[in-house]
Amino acid sequence: MRLYADNARCSGCSACLAACSYHLFGQITTKRAALRVIPHFPVPGGYTVQVCTQCGECAAGCPTDAIVQNDLGAYHVVPELCTLCMACVDACPEGVVFFREDVPHTWECDLCGECIQVCGMDVLRLAE
């Protein structure tokens, strides 16, 4: 199972980012999400939503085996094992393994589906 995004429907409201950040870190912000919304303004307009495809490249590249699959099959980072070596960040073809200076580990989508709940435009869905 993975997350899919229909770019053409996205209105760029960032609710998915806030819901994701709240789920992963308990913080309402747009800066700690595990997906990305890229605006294309002023020309041509519209948005691209980058989501994890669960390809597993991040886990394959992790030298400390810190990336494992959860019950839903999502590759996710075990914080205690992460050394912030950035191998997963470099390995991710979608650019959706995240890091910040003030977070001691990288993170990615755990397929919780909170982003889908708050999207009013049905951009996001979970499917095989």
Binding site: A8, I28, T29, K31, P39, P44, Y47, G120
Partner: protein, 609 residues
Amino acid sequence: MSGYVGKLLRVDLTTGRMTTEPIPAAVIRDYLGGRGLGAFLLFTEVPAGADPLGPENKVFFSTGPLSGTLFPGACKMDVAAKSPLNSGYGSSSIGGKLAAELKFAGFDAIVVEGMSREPVYLLVQDDHVELRDAGHLWGRGAMTTEQMLKEELGEEMQIATIGPAGENLVRYACIHHDVGRQAGRCGIGAVMGSKRLKAIAVYGTGSVSVADPAAFLEVSRQAFQAVKSAETHEQWVREGTTKTTEWVNGTGTLPTYNFQAGAFEQAPSLYADVARSYVVSDKGCYCCPSPCGKYTYAPRYDLHIEGPDYETVGMLGPNVGLDDWQALVKANWLCDELGLDTISAGATISWAMECQAKGLLDASLTDGLDLSWGSAEAIWTLLERIGHRDGWLGNLLAEGSKRAAEELGQGSIAWAIQHKGMEQSAYETHSATAMLLSYMTCDIGGHHGRAWAIWNDISMGRDKVSPEKVDKVIELQHIRPLFDCLGCCRFLWVELRLSFDQYVAALQAVTGVKRSYEDLMHISERAWNLTRLYWMREIPEFGAAFDAPPPRFVSEPATYGPTAGVFTPRASMEIMLADYYQKRGWDANGLPTHQTLDRLGLLELSPWR
């Protein structure tokens, strides 16, 4: 208190000094935030009689307790200042992502005061705040400036900026943000311009605190679900505010030819289906599950804009006789880039067009420009001249319709369709007594935002003079501005029927403080009366005369459409206004009584009474 950061950023442009201050808990308790906070700060900080375009005026950017939270439509910020358009209370709401970003950066509000010698912009990156040279941005369009700053500082930076109109102190210059969101009304862009503050750029990595996360998550989920499953969701998302155009044309409330008529023969060429055919992408403000923003491309002119929204459609479409969607997009683009409020700009141009039609503006005064109704060329050229204060006519119209009419004279004030010096927005009120009362009593001037009572006119009997209508106007004037206190967009309540109970529950979960609907309405009434006190303080002769309707609606019949031949008897509005004053606890001259001020805890702020 959770939901709030508890801090404001004060920026003194004269000295370059920047300080962080706590916001007193009592102010939060009594005024909630957003519009309430802005009104309180304006009242208590800007000295009586301050020149709106002088160093004593200030600009207050205020978020609310729900701004930036994970609640549907929690995107709003109130921008307040003494209005350069009418020297009274100025306040304008702005969506997009600025409010949330400011909270993430660790501030509830920014207060800008003083006056810089050189053009500057303010950079807020969490606790790093800095005034930077804006020499390279001065003179540039608002959308261009936003783009330049994003290229300089990063795409995630949230920018609020003025265009040339603000720099040139056009009295209805707006503040632009997020490609197509504006704090449009009251000319606060000119206040920024007078201070030589070109822009504000905000980026924050913090978060908004919530007192009861479990309760908040539950109410938030319910609210998102309610909006998404609302019966009106599909149409609203497809059409946005342009869904209004057909309805107002059908009911004879679409301002046409400077409010001479309530319907426009060619209106169907501006209906929602036409608008939608040019839409590139839907565009939502922060956390909005029902985006009204429509990003549009007009191939004939190779122009992109967000919009046109209904207000712009009305004011720069039928009200100036324009019936071509792409030409309207270009007019909207010019307003956005120049940094002009589309409502006041449209109404001021329609006033000028009527002046020409009545023989008051000949070619020598217009530099040969033909101001015939519906001329796209005339509209575009006037917008450029206004934004740059180019020539006699550009300068005249940059002052707004009331001042322009006073300057031109010859009775032209009779067709300056304004209230308290601010142009009436896009609802035609020859036969809509509740909406007309709403405009007459609105605390910033001719704006629909406080009480959109036109619906009640149609449903209750449009020419009816009834106590129920007065009750409704007052109720709306308390509910709708509450959203501006909370920091939320009211459209989700108005259009998607999100229950107000959800806001009450969300506010409690976020702040940890239990407040009932009645408590919140009381706060809103306090803010309403405080803004009334502000008018009284700034304009010594302020009173009922300032609430009089534009003469057109009470003396000249509408010329076309469902209301053709109809106008509202002046006595009808006198009866409603007297009832309104009485119900508000104001005296016959429209001034709050001692008892009312006491009930609202405002006596302290009204020492002259």
